[in-house]
């Protein structure tokens, strides 16, 4: 290896990417790493989605047609782990890598080598996780929430799953540290905090959440490990512990985690709507405060996932009220977006379509979340498909749509080519129709009493499950359009201008398309 000396300071990677395939292994460039993250996430989306399709196929009809119940459970578990840790989080980190340095007028991330490591951990972590599917006894089958003592019954997979989570956690924490350091330290002079685009703000707060709660998850799964292999009794009443203690620690991580999955999406939507409404974002400052309030509240609502575990009454009351409170800052965001659209001059290119789809369907998911927050009602909703409907409405047309919107929005800047608008729009409409066919009926079967995490169900749920399965295959296969549009855009197409979108505002639109390998070698002037 080359001994680093002062001259290396200015060697050739200041001008363009290194040659050969090792470029991708060794790169310290935020755009390269962003691309790696995004492609990784896309691949995992198909793996996680493939698992979802197995779930839906088995649920197409009552009776067990295809899979063993144990394998079904491990599909449920893996589907969630892959989607959350392998799709949404890496995609957001990829977008952060691409956009944050550009948006704040910085040269790159604050710690580029660490950045490379954060990415290259992910494929190995998922190799470790997915390998359990090929072990005797199969993958983890206790749900993504890994509740003790059920998860402790897992076969050989338990240790692998726990270490895979540690592994991903290392990646997330390092990535978040990098993002925080970048935002605090790499801004161009004049880019004050309250001038930062909201995507940067929401990521700053997300990174803070990640650094705060990922170690807690690490602690929780470490306790699982020692309970299983070293004879501790954190989660066993016989030794003075409590299985419910795992749930408290898990959800102390888990609830902030779901906001980790949505706050960057809020940032993306806050960039896209003003562009296509040709009007500045309404209530910038209140958006920042609302994001911060959501983050703060997210630490004190965790037990709304545990209304049936038998908490003291005062605890149930507290968590109910605190959870309801989150609707207020979230509502502020929704209202601000609508006020941004109000009396704008709107056009509806694909990113805007996805943003509006987000707005409508996230609100539906949020409102069902509010219903879940009402403890006495949640006791009926809990662990039914009503919950499944809720979180898919906030995750799929929420988090996933925001990622797709962001891709369409910034892809011309990344590749220098316009994407195919016609197919983009088709992608949106087909996805949106099937998505609702897929997830809306889950509200019905949930309320009617269908529990979640079951491979087989009673006759009364048959019709709507068949509908949902049809929607699932429709939605899943329409994502192939997305892949087609992305690949086509990477290959070529109409050349994009510097500004790309008529109403776009922000530093990323001041550099040529495609953005040069090193965006800003010296700090840009800030208005």
């Amino acid at each position: 290896m080359s001994t680093a000396t002062a001259e290396h300071h200015d060697h050739d990677d200041h001008h363009g990417p290194a040659k050969g395939w090792t470029r991708w292994l060794y790169t310290t460039n935020h755009k390269d790493i962003g691309t790696l993250y995004l492609l990784f996430s896309l691949v995992m989306f198909f793996i996680g989605g493939g698992m979802a399709l197995i779930i839906r196929a088995e649920l197409f009809q009552p009776g067990l047609q295809m899979v063993d119940p144990l394998f079904f459970n491990s599909m449920t578990t893996m589907h969630a782990l892959v989607m959350i840790f392998g799709v949404v989080m890496p995609a957001f980190v990829g977008l952060a890598n691409w956009m944050i340095p550009m948006m704040i007028g910085g040269p790159d991330m604050a710690l580029p080598r660490l950045n490379n490591w954060s990415f290259w951990i992910m494929p190995f972590a998922f190799l470790l996780l997915l390998s359990t599917l090929f072990m005797e006894g199969g993958g983890p089958a206790g749900g993504w929430t890994l509740y003790a003592p059920l998860s402790l019954q897992g076969g050989d997979n338990l240790a692998f799953v726990i270490f895979a989570i540690h592994f991903m956690g290392i990646s997330s924490v390092m990535g978040s540290i990098n993002i925080v350091a970048t935002i605090f330290n790499m801004r161009a002079p004049g880019m004050t905090l309250m001038k930062m685009p909201l995507f940067v703000w929401t990521w700053l707060i997300t990174a803070y959440l990640l650094i705060a709660v990922i170690p807690v998850l690490a602690g929780a799964v470490t306790m699982l490990l020692t309970d299983r292999y070293f004879g501790t009794s954190f989660f066993s009443a016989a030794g003075g512990g409590d299985p419910v203690m795992f749930q408290h620690i898990f959800w102390f991580f888990g609830h902030p985690e779901v906001y980790i999955l949505i706050l960057p999406a809020f940032g993306i939507i806050s960039s896209i709507i003003p562009t296509f409404a040709r009007k500045p974002l309404f209530g910038y400052a209140s958006m920042v405060y609302a994001t911060a309030s959501i983050a703060f509240l997210s630490f004190i609502v965790w037990a709304h996932h545990m209304f049936t575990v038998g908490m003291p009454l005062a605890g149930e009351m507290f968590f109910m009220f605190a959870t309801m409170m989150i609707s207020v800052p979230t509502g502020v965001k929704v209202f601000n977006w609508i006020a941004t659209m109000w009396r704008g001059s709107m056009t509806f290119e694909t990113p805007m379509l996805f943003a509006i789809g987000f707005l409508v369907m996230f609100t539906i998911g949020g409102l069902s979340g509010l219903m879940l927050a009402i403890t006495p009602a949640d006791i009926q909703y809990h662990d039914t498909y009503f919950v499944v409907a809720h979180f898919h409405y906030v995750l799929v047309p929420g988090a996933i749509y925001s990622i797709m919107a962001a891709t369409y929005y910034w892809m011309p800047k990344w590749t220098g080519n316009m994407y195919d608008e016609k197919w983009g729009k088709i992608h949106f409409w087909v996805s949106t129709v099937f998505l609702n066919v897929l997830f809306f009926p889950m509200h019905f079967v949930g309320l009617a009493g269908m529990p979640r995490r079951i491979p087989d169900y009673s006759m009364q749920f048959a019709d709507w499950n068949a509908v949902a399965t049809i929607g699932a295959f429709g939605f899943g296969f329409s994502q192939l359009i997305f892949v087609y549009v992305v690949l086509k855009c990477m290959k070529g197409g109409e050349k994009a201008t510097t500004e790309v979108w008529e109403g776009a505002d922000g530093l990323e639109w001041t550099v040529p398309s495609p953005a040069p390998y090193h965006t800003f070698e010296t700090p840009p002037p800030i208005r």
């Binding site: 067990l64 005797e136 016989a238 006495p376 079951i454």
Partner: protein, 388 residues
């Protein structure tokens, strides 16, 4: 398919001004048969409609804007981007709505948690994958698991058309019998992992946590059969541990208890499985191999096959095969211990309280001589009795 017809039904019902939900089939929460379940249903409908109204307003404004303020219609963008006044309004108004929702919610919650002054107490214990009920006042106790016909039909590749069962996966061998008009208190716990006892009609859902007891209650107002399911993921057959509550008049209930009480109050270990109850239970006599084999087969099917499979092959990696198992074909003591004490930290729990001496001896003997195992010896009920 049926749902197309139903959709037509919805549309026509809506047109005719009828309750659209009814036409959709089973799409809403059940009203239930207890005061609490009815209160919860009311609360659910209240918050549902509030959410609908909020959604309708928000979307109305948004779509108005989308249609009116579009460039293609010649809209020119305005320039406003701030207003403290509206920000305050749209923070305050939702807060008020939330308070309006919170008050009835809190009231219902307090009522739900009040388990005092119960007339009947039932201890409900979750097992992988069946329920055990124990009437603490009279000592009657029994296991309740998925009906055998359903259990056979639900196997992968069983070839059975499950739509022939009216209550597919919601039928049990021994239903829980409860009196109407009495406050019944439930004590929920579990023996292995967390389960959750849920009967929608009673609005009772409480986690059954090993090592802890949770309390809950119900006052059933109407006779009938109410069906529910385990609601917390508890392993492979989580989807197959239904609950059936048979709500009967007080007299019927008392008669039912009286009929069973004499037999089942006596022994602490008097629990029994689905299998053989009326047969000869003399643990002291010498049993022949054939006798034990004949008796062991149904016991195995009822108690062990859920994990070790009907063919004794187990599920690789999760549940060991009985066929050719070193434990089963090895020394008697280790075999007995595995089943009597269980294997700590695994799904293999203790069966000491689930099987009586004869059943346990029979199933052990059966394992040693079935599925191709040919140990040839017997395990006598007396040997199990000696352990108690």
């Amino acid at each position: 398919m049926l749902f197309v017809l139903r959709w037509l039904g919805v549309v026509s019902a809506a047109l005719a001004g009828q309750n659209a939900f009814a036409a959709l089939g089973d799409v809403n929460m059940t009203v239930g048969v207890t005061p609490i379940s009815q209160e919860v249903y009311g609360l659910h409908m209240l918050i549902f409609w509030i959410c609908c109204v909020i959604g309708a307003l928000v979307f109305a404004v948004m779509f108005y804007s989308i249609f009116k303020h579009r460039k293609s219609k010649g809209a020119k963008a305005a320039d406003f981007h701030e207003s403290t006044m509206v920000e305050i309004v749209w923070t305050a108004v939702p807060l008020i709505i939330l308070v309006a929702m919170a008050i009835p919610a809190a009231r219902t919650l307090i009522a739900m948690e009040d388990t005092s002054n119960a007339d009947v107490t039932v201890k409900v214990t979750g097992y992988q994958w069946k329920w055990h009920y124990e009437y603490l006042d009279s000592g009657v106790s029994f296991f309740s698991s998925l009906d055998a016909e359903h259990a056979a039909a639900r196997q992968v590749g069983s070839g059975v058309d499950v739509s022939q069962f009216e209550h597919y996966l919601k039928e049990v061998d021994n239903p829980l019998v409860l009196p109407v008009g009495k406050k019944v208190r439930f004590l929920h716990t579990a023996s292995d992992v967390i389960h959750s006892w849920w009967v929608p009609d009673l609005a009772v859902k409480k986690d059954a946590i090993p090592g802890f007891i949770n309390e809950n209650w119900a006052l059933i107002e109407q006779e009938g059969v109410y069906r529910g399911k385990c609601a917390e993921l508890c392993g492979r057959d989580h989807g197959f541990m239904p609950i059936v509550v048979n709500a009967v008049s007080e007299e019927e209930f008392d008669a039912w208890i009286a009929e069973r009480a004499p037999v089942e109050t006596m022994a602490d270990a008097g629990a029994q499985t689905v299998a053989a109850t009326t047969e000869d239970d003399d643990a002291d006599r010498e049993w022949a191999l054939e006798e034990l084999m004949a008796r062991g087969e149904p016991v195995y099917a009822a108690a062990c096959a859920a994990c070790h499979q009907a063919n004794g092959q187990g599920v690789p990696g999760a549940f060991p095969a009985i066929a050719g198992s070193a434990v089963v074909t090895g020394p008697v003591d280790a075999h007995i211990k595995t089943v009597y004490v269980g294997v700590a930290g695994s799904a293999m729990g203790s069966f000491a309280n689930q099987l009586n001496d004869v059943d346990m001896a029979a199933v052990l003997t059966y394992q040693r001589n079935a599925f191709g195992n040919t140990v040839g010896d017997t395990i006598q009920p007396a040997a199990i009795k000696a352990l108690r």
